[in-house]
């Protein structure tokens, strides 16, 4: 399931909900991305995530589908927040459920790598006296490429 929202999320609530909805769950992998309090060595005031609403849903569904083709998943959830977020705030949650650990772990890793380079989001970091749009990292591109989508 895909949720793109401004509100925060609860890891425990989402995890329990997914476990209860499925039978024979043996492995639950999750990843949370959090706003750090430094941006290029400067104290961060806030990070604003802009996205392309219609496209986000489409692309996230597409990649979730890819994960199901590659691994035996019982269920999965991606929650991505947008809007203005502050240091310590949650940005993104990925949860994957499977019978055996390998599927859940690899699918979770794949999904978050993919979100970094193909999730239609852009980040504006505000520091004390200035602000800038975050540049995509070449290292993120390399991480994503190893999955050979």
């Amino acid at each position: 399931m895909i949720k793109v929202q401004t509100e925060n999320f609860s890891l425990e609530k989402e995890t329990k909900n997914l476990i209860h909805k499925n039978n024979n769950v043996g492995a639950v992998s999750s990843f949370i991305g959090i706003v750090r309090d430094k941006a290029k060595e400067k104290d961060l005031i806030s990070m604003t995530l802009e996205h392309y609403p219609g496209m986000t849903q489409t692309m996230l569904k597409k990649i979730e589908k890819q994960a199901y083709l590659r691994w035996k998943l019982l269920d999965s959830l991606i929650i991505h927040r947008y809007g203005e977020l502050f240091p310590g705030d949650n940005i993104v949650l990925v949860i994957t459920l499977s019978k055996h650990r390998k599927d859940a772990i690899n699918a979770c890793h794949f999904l978050i790598d993919w979100l970094k380079t193909k999730g239609p989001f852009w980040k504006y970091e505000k520091t004390k006296n200035s602000g800038h749009w975050v540049e995509a990292l070449e290292s993120d591109n390399l991480e994503e490429k190893k999955w050979d989508i």
Binding site: E50, H51, L115, K116, T117, K118, W133, E135, A136
Partner: protein, 83 residues
């Protein structure tokens, strides 16, 4: 044609979307960009480094020679940085 701009491309151009009525010789994304940069310096600046521009047609990533027409929704944005 609905054209959307995101991130610093939006900031440079000074708007996040616009409706354009294009003449018939604009057939591809590449043609559209060549037209946009003639509008004013802001557009020219936004599209000055094409290596960091991505584009979509109707919410799918496409190549620069993708065919477009007036019913399409085209978007321009820098490389994505989600997660």
């Amino acid at each position: 044609m609905k054209v959307l701009y995101f991130s610093w491309i939006k900031d440079n151009i000074g708007k996040n979307e616009e409706d354009l009525s294009l003449n018939d010789n604009i057939k591809t994304i590449s043609d559209l960009i060549n037209y946009l940069i003639t509008i004013n310096e802001n557009y020219k600046k936004a599209f000055s480094d094409m290596s960091i521009i991505r584009f979509s047609k109707n919410m799918n990533l496409v190549n620069i020679d993708e065919m477009i027409d007036n019913d399409d929704e085209i978007a321009f944005f820098p490389p994505m940085t989600g997660g």
